[in-house]
Symmetry: C2
Subunit: 392 residues, 2 copies
């Protein structure tokens, strides 16, 4: 019950024990087509280029940034936590001139501030995290795409921590590239990063196409743009591999693809609206339970992620001892955080297969017992009762 | 029965249906320690830094090159096939000045030629593929490390296609970094790249350590070298994550780690010598079977990989029609190749779980029937009989 990775759905685990297929076997390429179709609604998009990057969520971020940004380009990062800092870090490594627009941890960034920062810095790319688990805040994104298009900028959103749990509306937001991961609200393992790319961004990326020498073909126009600084994360080659051209690039990670496919099938089978409501109920229940226990919930209520909740560690309580007892006595993992919040908050996640009523109730009951054992008594039963009522 | 990915061992598939663990759960970090210990003998090394890169085999290559090479460094590529060209391509993308030392496809590069090319070009890094599946040749590597150390150069070997099937002797070769993949002779899925790094190379890489801002710590000395041009592939951060520091980087791909661990356990349980002998028997059997069928085997017998065999497509035979019939009538996949060999050869692999007597015999029997159906009769039964005898 931490901020991810979380328990995987049993159906995902079963799907991952299927045997391999050759990468160009029609059954395998058929699965690749299915993955593209399945992830479009998950991302809230009709983008043709909707596929997987073979690596963890962070691999998806780097693939997006190294393919969108050319060295020397200005990139504006909308930052409100550790993963905003990660966008800066990756942006700098791929050669961007990074401008930061930062909110204090626990808040988000107003759209007007983004507009002003864009006017000031003239970015080629605006990059933003959707839900930053380090602060448990979710950045509102409606209107971001229009701002960027009006200014001739591309836009990128890291939705690792929200995809499958909160609405991702790539098309309504109007953003160009969104990436995610399986290990949070999609209820799968880390190691595959779903990505969607608008036609506009794809055109930009194909203008940098430099197919590798060993497999170059006459029917693939090479781009005039600067060659992308990574082979593995070159989205032009990844798109050519996922297209009907099936141009060999990496060897698609078969088992991870089976897992990613099953994650999306489960999400769409449940229904995205029902799934978002389930995560919202879980988030409400954790917040209500924590407050009924006399604990203080971190951050701005208006922008809270529904799938992870920060709770301030009360004065006099050893936060790590509590986490240890939770794990050793109850086999429940909860998180701490990073940077300014390290050792200051616990983070309780309720993501994917873990966003279930009984898991939330058991976690709060366990936390009560552990706090009591650590000498910090809370009103007996209050947390569980309040959570049960808040679930609705 | 292609050049990989191949069928995975059933034990690997079962291991991959185990549920997730938190990335800093002591059980998970215990598995990470086990993976380090299990892969040392697989690589033929005592290197402390022996771990996994979360991505396909190609991700391991890029992690090695981007971390070893600084922009402007000279990198000498020992090239004898498509994957030598890939080293060039990745080296250029990470900013190296790449010098090529190329052998014709079907041959390998003499060690004296490497010494001469090093004297001529003064490389910071010498990079070489061990077994290049595109040509089915394996480069002899004894002595490479000494050459490089004497010249003050680092050395890198891509052992993707041989690891677990032919001997990898990182320490005896004296090479600094070796990477692999699971999807060939280790009998697992693509998506995790084992890597080993010598202390000498680790020191070089830590001199470029630039821990990301969100997680920097006072006890981590930052290096004076040029920051590595990738976050995801920054081996300094990956090593800090796999060390007792457990510095957060990516979220380790849990399921792929379970799979990689089981691949190594199976290989060591069988015994590496027995495993290499099994692959050698399979290779001998394919070669003998093909020749008994009157087919011509591609490449230099002295340097043949044991786990994949190239067979020239006879004049007048439609190679793709043969591959299609093999797949549709027998559910057996065999490969073609790339570049100058595309459409010129078939490649029959016998890797990992597929390097078994019955699979080799069935494949040759199927090939005979398919060739007959395509109008190219071979002596009936001769391929299977010769393979059975050659297996020994």
């Amino acid at each position: 019950m931490g901020p991810g990775p979380v328990n995987a759905h049993p159906r995902v685990l079963r799907a991952m024990s299927a045997d391999m297929l050759g990468q160009f076997d029609p059954e395998m390429t058929g699965y690749m087509e299915q993955v593209m179709a399945l992830y479009r609604p998950v991302f809230g998009t009709e983008n043709r280029w909707t596929m997987l990057i073979d690596g963890t969520a962070r691999a998806g971020i780097e693939a997006a940034l190294v393919s969108l940004v050319s060295p020397g380009d200005t990139m504006l990062v909308v930052d409100f936590g550790r993963f905003g800092l990660l966008l800066k870090e990756i942006g700098e490594r791929v050669g961007a001139r990074v401008e930061m627009l930062s909110a204090p941890w626990g808040e988000t960034v107003p759209m007007e501030a983004i507009a002003q920062a864009m006017a000031r810095t003239g970015p080629k790319l605006v990059a933003c995290v959707h839900g930053d688990t380090s602060t448990t805040m979710a950045q509102p994104l409606d209107g971001l795409g229009a701002l960027c298009r009006d200014a001739g900028a591309l836009s990128y959103v890291d939705a690792t921590a929200t995809i499958g749990g909160m609405e991702i509306a790539a098309d309504r937001w109007g953003v160009d590239v969104v990436t995610g991961g399986l290990q949070k609200c999609l209820g799968g393992p880390s190691g595959s990063a779903p990505i969607t790319i608008s036609d506009r961004a794809a055109e930009h990326i194909f203008a940098r196409r430099h197919t590798e020498h060993g497999i170059a073909r006459a029917d693939l126009a090479q781009g005039s743009g600067i060659r992308i600084g990574s082979n593995y994360f070159d989205l032009a080659m990844v798109m050519d591999y996922w297209s009907e051209k099936r141009l060999n690039h990496h060897t698609e990670a078969t088992t991870m693809l089976y897992g990613a496919r099953e994650c999306a099938r489960i999400a769409l089978g449940e229904g995205l609206e029902a799934r978002f409501a389930r995560h919202a109920a879980a988030g409400r229940a954790v917040v209500a339970g924590a407050r009924a226990m006399g604990l203080t919930v971190f951050g701005d209520d208006r922008y809270r992620m529904t799938n992870v909740t920060g709770i301030l560690i009360p004065a006099g309580v050893d936060g790590e001892a509590v986490r240890r007892r939770m794990r050793e006595d109850f086999e429940i993992e909860i998180g701490t955080s990073f940077g300014p919040l390290q050792g200051k908050v616990w983070r309780i996640g309720a993501m994917g297969y873990n966003a279930m009523k009984h898991k939330v109730l058991i976690t709060l009951g366990a936390l009560e017992a552990v706090l009591r054992a650590e000498g910090h008594a809370t009103p007996p039963g209050a947390g569980v009762d309040a959570a049960l009522e808040a679930w609705g």
